[in-house]
Amino acid sequence: MARSLVERTLASVTHTLEQTLFAEDIARQPGVLQSLDPRVKLVSVLALLLAVSFARNLWVIAGLYLLVLSLAWVSRVPLGFFVRHVWVALPFFTGLVALPVLFNVVTPGAPVLTLWSNPLIAITAQGLRAAAFLILRVGTSVSLAILLVLVTPWNTLLRALSVLRVPSVFLLILGMTYRYIYLLLKTASDMFEARQSRVVGRLQPAAQRHLVTNTMGVLMSKSYGLSQDVYLAMLSRGYRGRPRTLDRFTMQPRDWLWGAAALSVAVVALWLGRG
């Protein structure tokens, strides 16, 4: 029997929380990438993402994916989890989207495997390559992004954004948003649980929708009320509209080395993958 909507929402909320807790645990392991300056990691990942994005050669993307896997391995990221997380859970739709691409109906080209001759339905060489490009590119890009989060505690990563000249008012907002996401999630899940304990049997879709939108309405009211109170709390501690943040990073020689290596790999990949 399908689970009720409320259960599913609760499950997805819990899943998100668990996922971030798990990520924080990995980020505190003594791995290779964990020990690097977060700014180096951020810039390296961006450079590699660009290389993946520009590549017109499948082997180059595959090579970059292997590089990502080996980096994950030396950083004590459980590979089974890492691969599964990226390929099964995340871009779930990418795999399905790629399916019709194989056929001449969507991607015209030289038929490789003919399923029906009149009208022609066949898998084309171009279709196969197009699907491979899409899946590999999306998978490798997502892997890079996930690896960055797994090896960097998120608040460190947040501060590293200053290297990209993100204004400090945005850094302040981002940090505050992240902090209050958990409070709102907790509120939502408490409301659902309270509701669930009072309901026997399953609700009709209309009633479920009513419950969900009411919960959202409560959350929105709470968000607004909290924003007013938090403003007072900031004011009380001397906030005058000029946010100031402080990072506690210092670049070591090995950070420079790693950064240079990552940038060289990206440049070589760009060169090889130019098609």
Partner: protein
Amino acid sequence: MLLSLLPLPTTMSVGANMHIPDGYFGPLFSIALWIIALPWLGLATRQLSRQLNQRMVPLVALFAAFSFVIMMFNVPLIGGTTGHAIGASIAAIVIGPAGAAVAVAIALLIQALFFGDGGILAYGANILLMALIMPYTAAFIYRALGGNTLISDRRRLVASFAAGWASLSLIAGLAGIMFGLQPILFHAADGTPLYAPFPLQVAVPAMLIPHMLVASVIEGLVTAGILAYLQRGNPELLEVSLKPGVASRLESARLRPLWIGLAALVVLSPVGLLAAGTAWGEWAAEEIADVVGYTPQGLAATQTWSAPLPDYAVHGLNANLGYIVSAGLGIGLTLVVIWVIASLLARRSAAQKS
């Protein structure tokens, strides 16, 4: 028929609703969207910080957290169908489009960067669609249709549903255009698409139809549902974005029919786009030949109808592309014209009053 078989990004409720991942767009295309989106976001931020001053930080942070949480909710439709709302439209209605823009952009950044949901290079595209075009369109429709009615008026519920439905359908159509442009812009010598592989005549209806039937309906229902809750439970919150200037610009009983007409135009534009989409589909084979250098056998076999407009192409620009771009420009221009007329009328009515 093909459409119904297509499993589409947006019909699945696996967390990512409209979040375009990296790998679907060519890098230059992504960068171009960054270049459009960032200044717009910058303007929204400036406008907001001028309005709210120091209060901006906590307000945006809490509403960003709210948008983030909202996107995680499963919303039921009928027959077991569920989906996720983006929440940009209700945020735009409550705190205004500038506030919603910055808040949704922050929520999307956290999803992309900390949860790997939605691409990093594609972040420009994602904020352009979900954080900018969507809230501004939604606020526009809500204000136009809601008019000067009381906060508790039922008409506002209709207006908010229309705002949610049309704003998401519009960006779904635009995303379809963006996807559909990829195989035209970026392909290998043998015609292999390098990024999103679907041609325009597939991508546009494939994005539009499921959205118009499911996701946008959910967005509309959520928008109206939250509004209904706030009308009963927290009407003060609905007065937050109603600064005197905004209200007076949109009232004026004489202008109302005009406003409703214009809003209907915006609401219907995705439908128009869709109709156009099917039309393109019918003369696509010839154009594909132009692009990839040969006539696909499958399409040649099913081709029963030829282009009504011979040789639409201009200077090597593919006809298909030209048609889409002009359709997109048309919608954009319509919005701009509406906005210009509206501000002119508003200025005149303000002048008459004083």
